[in-house]
Amino acid sequence: MNNLKELIRVQLKNLFFQSRGSKKGKKAGIGFMVLQMGLMVYLSVFYSLALYSSLPPAQYYLGIYMMSAAGALMILIIGVPYAQGFLFGFKDFDFLMSLPVRKQDVVASKITTFMILQYLYAGFFMIPAMIVYGNVSGQGAVFYLLMVLGFLSAPLVSIMISALIGLLMKNISSRMKNQTLVSTILNILFMAAIFFFSFRMNSQSDPTRLLARTLPLIKVWMPQIYWYVSGCIDGSLLPVLASMAVSIGLFALFLYLSAPLVLKVSARSEQGYHVKNFRLHSERSQTLMRTLLKKEFGRLFSNTNYLMNMCFGIVMMIAVSVYALMNRSFLQVFLEQESFADAARIIPGLILLGIGFMGHSTCTTGVSISLEGKSFWILKTLPISIRQIFLSKGLVNFVIIIVPALFCLVLLGIAFAFPWQDFLIGFVYLVLLAAFVSMYGLFINLCFPKLDFDRDIVVIKQSMASFLSIIGSMIMGIVVFFSYLSILSRQTQPEGTTILLILCSIYLFLDVLLYEYLEHEGAKTFRKLS
C-alpha cells in the first residue's frame, strides 16, 4: 500500500510539476494549472449562462442535462490521447518495472493518476455548470448535496470509455511498423467521428428544439448521467445511487479486464522497429533549409499528439468548409437572423475570418523549441544560424496553415462567387495571418521554454507555452471575428473590404513587431537556452 501511495505521489508530481526545478519554472507550472482549470470553469459558466439566457425558465433543466453530457464528452476527448500516452505507452516503463514493487501497484498507480487527472478536468467543468443551474433555478441544499455525492462516480464511465478507446488504438498501432502513422490515422478517425456527431447535433438552430432532441439521446447513451442529473433536479437519492452503482460496477469490471493489458501494451509500444539486412542507400545531398524543414515536418508527423493538438484547427477548417459548402443556405439564414442589411456583401469577409480563426488555432511553433528537449544540444552545436532555426520552425507552421487555408478560400470563394478583389485580399490576409501565428508561437515558446521532460505529451498538452500559444492565438481570432461582425452591424457601417484591409494592416504591423522581436530579443533568448 505504501508503495502504491508513493508511486501515485511521484506520478502526480511528475505529471504536474515535472522539470520545474527553478522558482520561475514552478510558478509557471502552477500558473499553467490555474489557467487551464480557470479556462474550464470559464467555459462551463459562459456556456451555461448562454444556454439559460436562450431557454424559458420552465426548460432550464434541459440546460443542465446538456452541460453534464458535454462534460462527459469532454472527458472522452481529453482522455483518449492521455490514455494512449500515459496509461498504455508510458516512457518510465523500464524504470518502474525494475523497481522492487508489485506489478499490480504499477498498474494501479497509472490508472489512479489517470483518473485523478480526468476528475480534475471533469470537476472544473461539471461542478460550475451544476452550480450555475442550481443558482438560476433556485435549487436548495439537497440539490447540492446530491450533486457532490453523484459527482464521485459521474465521470467514471467516460473515463472508462476513453481508456478503452485509447487501449484499442494503442493496441492496433503498437503492432504496426509505422506506429505513429497508424496512430495518427486512428486519432483523426476518432476526432472525425466526434465532429460528425457534433455537426449532426448542431444542425438544429433553435436551442430549445436542439436540447429537447438531445435529451432522449442522453437517456439512451449516457443513462448514468441522466439518472445523476434527474436525481439532483428532483432531489431524489435513488436515481443518483443507481447512477453511482452502474458507473462503479462498470468501472470495476473494466479494471478487472484491462489491468493486465496495461503492462503488455506498454511494453510493446516501447519497442520501436528494427530493420533486417540493413543496407545504406546513396542519398542525394540536400540544402540546409530543406534538411531543417524535413526534420521539422518529421517531428510534427512523428508524434500523434503533437499533430492532433496543434493541427486541430486545420482539420476543423477543412471540415467546416466542406460543411458550409454543402449547407450554403445556413450562412444566409444566420445573417438574416443577425439583421445584416446586405448579406451577400459581407459573406466573403465572414468566410475569410472563419478560415482565419481556424488558422489561429494551428500553432505548431508554440512548442517546437521545447520539443527539442534533451536533443537541443544538436541544434546548438551545428553550424546553423538562429534565424535558420526559427525560419524552419516557422515555415512548417506557415505551410500547415496556408495550404489548407488557401484551398478553403478557393473552394468557398468559387461556391459563394467572391469578386476577384476579395480573393486578392483573402490571399494577403491569410498569408499575413499565417506568418503571425507562426511567429507568435515562437515568441510564446521562447518566453516559456521547457526542455527537460520525459514524454512529449507533457510539453504538448501540459506546458504553459502550449496553452498560451493555442488559446492566445484563438482569442485573437475570436476578437477579430466578432469585431468584424460588430462593426458591420452598426448603422454607419463601413465597407466589409475596408475592414479587411484594416485587419491586414494590423496583422502586418504585428508581423513586423514579432519579426523584430525574434531577430533581436528572441535570438538572444534562444542563445541563453540550454
Binding site: 528494427h274 545504406l280 545531398s285 517531428r299 551545428l382 542563445r527
Partner: protein, 237 residues
C-alpha cells in the same frame, strides 16, 4: 586551434567557472580531468556554443565563437557524455541529417558512414530507430556523426562511457588519426590511464579553476603516474 581565455560562467548567483584559460594546439590531444562537479562539462558546453558565458573569450582556429559561431561550428564536432539523439529517426536518417547540414557530398557520406559504421560494428543497426538502440550503440552513432565531416576541432565529453572495449580502441585510434592530419582533440575523462597514454597535454580542473596544466610528460614528477598526480592535487590543494 582552441583558445579559451579567462572564461567565467555562472548559474544564477553561483559562479561555476572562475577564469579558465587553456590553449589546444593544432595536432594535439588535450585531456581535461577533474572530480565530479569540477566544471569540465560546463567548460566544454561553453566551448562548443551550447552555453553562453559572462566573461572571457573562446577562439576556434582564430575565430571568435561569440562573434562568428557558424564558422567555428563548421570546423568543430562535439560528442556529449549522454547521446540524446533524435529518437524517432533511424541512425542512418540522423547521420544523413548531419551530412546535409555539414554539406558532405553524397559519395563521401556513403563511404564514411559505411566505413565508420563497420569499424564500430554498428552498421547493421543503422536502419533501426535510435530509440531502440542501447546507450553504447547510440554513442557509436554519435561518434560517426562527430567524425563524419572530418572536423578540425573535436570536443568530447566523457567519450568512452558506455563504449565496448573494441569501440573504445577504435575511437582512440580515430582521435590519433585526426590529430595526425593536423586537427585537434579536446576531451574530458575520468579514465586517467587513457588520458595519460593518449594526451599530449593535460589540464586538471578543481572547483571551476585549472590547478595544473602542461604537457603530459612534464607535469608529473619522475616515476609518478597521472593518477598519483591527480590524487595529490585533490588532496593537497
Amino acid at each position: 586551434m582552441l583558445e579559451i581565455t579567462d572564461l567565467h560562467k555562472s548559474f544564477g548567483n553561483k559562479e561555476i567557472l572562475h577564469g579558465i584559460s587553456l590553449n589546444v594546439e593544432d595536432g594535439e590531444i588535450y585531456g581535461f580531468i577533474g572530480h565530479n562537479g569540477a566544471g569540465k562539462t560546463t567548460t566544454i558546453r561553453c566551448a562548443v556554443g551550447i552555453l553562453e558565458y559572462e566573461q572571457g573569450t573562446i577562439r576556434v582556429d582564430g575565430m571568435d565563437l561569440e562573434k562568428d559561431p557558424i564558422s567555428c561550428k563548421k570546423i568543430m564536432a562535439y560528442l556529449p557524455d549522454n547521446p540524446d539523439l533524435y529518437e524517432n529517426l533511424t541512425g542512418a536518417q540522423y547521420l544523413e541529417f548531419l551530412a546535409n547540414i555539414y554539406g558532405i557530398s553524397s559519395t563521401d557520406r556513403q563511404e564514411r558512414i559505411t566505413a565508420l559504421g563497420r569499424e564500430l560494428e554498428i552498421y547493421d543497426s543503422l536502419g533501426d530507430q535510435i530509440k531502440t538502440l542501447s546507450h553504447g550503440m547510440k554513442q557509436k552513432v554519435a561518434v560517426i556523426g562527430a567524425f563524419m565531416h572530418q572536423p578540425k576541432m573535436l570536443v568530447l565529453d566523457e567519450p568512452f562511457v558506455g563504449l565496448d572495449p573494441k569501440a573504445t580502441y577504435i575511437l582512440k585510434q580515430k582521435m590519433k588519426e585526426l590529430c595526425a592530419g593536423g586537427s585537434a582533440v579536446f576531451f574530458s575523462s575520468h579514465v586517467l590511464e587513457v588520458v595519460e597514454n593518449l594526451c599530449d597535454h593535460v589540464a586538471v580542473l578543481k572547483e571551476g579553476a585549472i590547478i595544473r596544466e602542461g604537457r603530459t610528460s612534464e607535469i608529473k614528477k619522475e616515476g609518478q603516474t597521472l593518477e598519483d598526480l591527480f590524487l595529490e592535487l585533490e588532496g593537497h590543494e
